[in-house]
Symmetry: C2
Subunit: 413 residues, 2 copies
């Protein structure tokens, strides 16, 4: 094990012990101090970021990657606002999740506590650095951040300001630490750092795959979204078209955008031509029945139905009934967000019960599956695994529970 990484781990563990009993007011004060520092020292941050951006340009980084990397005045202001928004959220630590009394008089409670040390491994967006650190701090955790090499200068600057704010507010600086080794071997070592109570990867499929293969610490995976909209026989077709258009086109590059449209055969002839017209500019690929109803629609391959396009492209299939739609989703879906449009109560209830996904929606766009939209206040990611947290993850996803048992001398017989 790498000595530098081990040292980060020991420092984080020590900081986590302090943070576990730090009152909400002190955590909020540190977050506000950090927001003020980001605002007042934005120039330093922009200079550090500029070095990353220029290095990226020199290395021929793609325009979209450069855009994610680049900070400017409004983006730094948004980072500061993000810190203040987290300060305004309710502190989950100490919540009594459940409690009861045993026949022998033992009083049992499950109380919410921080996870301890949370590792975040992510790609080149510097705003993740402040967002993730803030959510971890508010939930009483120490954070170890590992961003990409291409954003190292920016991340150093952000973390330096966050640590300064911690110290100023009387909290341990080591509440927030940055991994300086951004090599591939370093990434694998980080995924195996015993001090991590939880590792959350935020990035594309290759990062997720590396975490699955290499991590030996507990992880929460924020995976793909191959999301479907199913239009049932009993759908209001105006509503269906509006939901399809919104789910596909409102922001095609994100995980909760729809990638596939399934239509009940009884309404396909009416719906599909209308949907195709409303989806002008979206590349449609479909099965034989869909193509027969929409002139010019391309042929969908097996691969298309299994693909998260993250683009203005949509696969389309006509299905015989709700059961066939559920089967299609079980086969091709990624367990993220799945929507049905229907006016039929039994169809809605069956879809909700039978579809296995982090979120199922009835008569609403898949785009609502997001921590902000669902009312969690902020999110650290969207889990597509079933263990620990599933779907949008707010502050509670960064906590564990502790059994507290109070007696007056009970012993076991």
């Amino acid at each position: 094990m790498d000595a530098d990484l081990e040292r980060l781990g020991r420092r984080a563990t020590a900081a986590a012990r302090v943070l576990a009993t730090t009152r909400t007011g002190a955590k909020d004060a540190a977050l506000h101090a950090a927001a003020d520092l980001l605002a007042s020292r934005a120039d330093e941050l922009l200079a550090a970021n500029d070095a990353d951006v220029r290095a990226g340009e020199a290395q021929g980084m793609a325009a979209t990657a450069l855009d994610r990397l680049r900070l400017d005045g409004p983006r730094v202001a948004a980072m500061a606002d993000g810190l203040r928004a987290v300060a305004a959220l309710e502190d989950p630590v100490g919540e009594v999740v459940a409690g009861w009394v045993r026949p022998n008089g033992l009083r049992v409670a499950q109380v919410r506590v921080p996870l301890g040390v949370v590792g975040i491994i992510y790609e080149n967006r510097p705003n993740v650095t402040s967002d993730a650190a803030a959510l971890c701090l508010k939930s009483g955790n120490a954070t170890i951040l590992r961003g990409s090499s291409t954003a190292l200068s920016s991340n150093r600057a952000v973390v330096a300001l966050l640590r300064k704010a911690m110290a100023g507010a009387g909290l341990p600086e080591d509440a927030v630490q940055l991994v300086e080794d951004t090599s591939r071997d370093g990434a694998v070592a980080f995924m195996q750092l015993p001090a991590l109570d939880c590792l959350i990867p935020r990035g594309g499929p290759s990062l997720i795959e590396s975490v699955r293969a290499n991590a030996t610490v507990p992880t929460v995976i924020d995976g793909d979204g191959n999301c479907h909209v199913y239009v049932d026989a009993a759908a209001d077709l105006d509503m269906a078209v509006a939901i399809i258009v919104n789910a596909k086109t409102q922001r095609p590059s994100v995980c909760n955008a729809a990638e596939s449209l399934l239509v009940h055969r009884d309404v396909a002839a009416e719906l599909l031509p209308r949907a195709a017209e409303a989806l002008a500019g979206v590349a449609l690929v479909g099965d034989a029945r869909a193509r027969s109803l929409v002139p010019g629609m391309g042929e969908a391959t097996e691969e298309d139905f299994a693909t998260e396009f993250l683009d203005l492209k949509l696969s389309v299939a006509v299905v015989d009934d709700l059961g066939a739609a559920v089967d299609h989703i079980a086969r091709y879906g990624s367990g993220h967000s799945e929507a049905i449009v229907t006016g039929d109560l039994r169809a809605a209830e069956r879809f909700v019960e039978e579809v296995d996904a982090a979120a199922v929606l009835v008569n609403a766009s898949t785009r609502f599956v997001d921590g902000g939209e669902l009312g969690l206040g902020a999110e650290i990611g969207i889990s597509t695994q079933k263990l620990h947290a599933r779907g949008p993850m707010g502050l509670r996803a960064l906590t564990s529970v502790k059994y507290v048992v109070r007696g007056d001398g009970q012993v076991r017989s």
Copy 2:
């Protein structure tokens, strides 16, 4: 990936889809049918077990291992009773964990759903086969069981009866499957089977270590218990002695037994001689201050303080104050169960807040940290990790949640 294992995975996934929407009554009927079969066909089971026991004897298996492996009439009856007890528990599936309405009218709920496919990897106790399968079935999961090679004949017999009961009750036989390949390579392949939504190891440190190193699927670790009893300055010393004796000696071989006694220096001179007398038959090893108060006490090494003895042995240390006790526990504890004996409210509250463990107890024996004693009805294990479940795990630990979002045509702007 091993073709046999992949086939088990596909069958389990298909069975899990059916079980996810199977009503409680059908699951309970299958459990009762399985209990009846275990009782009526105990002879077959005992014959199969006898083959394992004789092979174990021929291979020179240790007496304690043989005892864990051996079935007899009362043990088979207890397995059947265990199945009936699980049938009597409340079904966690469908519980609405939380729900709220968004300003745009979207109704959001988090609903409890099965995990899907649960893998259990364990050592040579055949009763784990029926217990684990029953808990997984009641919570709507398909199970793949992988016991030890030394119990293969017994496990085959148990699983055959369970599958017969499933089929008789109209449930998929593949709700319960057994891995026949009990090689070490087979174990590693099982820990990497993508169909597993969750893997739960039940066994000793070498199994846990192998799971940590090799598993690529989400796991819940049931780890060691290096549990402490701390006797505070304000303790009722009669109560303290009773709790120490119970925590250490009532069943020394289990994870919630105490392994270490910490005593505040102000009461050490009075408590330790009384405790030593009450602990006659227990090997005591202590630090210098403890040894000065108990003639004949051995010297405790660093290693002793870090060891889960699982035997009639106890390490003892005198501490200056509550903070030193908490520090000692943070350094040597395994995060399982930690108890304080005190009459002082502030000491109790500090201990509860500052000690990081799955369970903290005030004025009660560590032996209560168990699913049955805490009122969970039954347990699949005791988690010492912080992700997903912590402490004794009942049926809810075998579930996930699903967001259900109901609207009337909302789209995102």
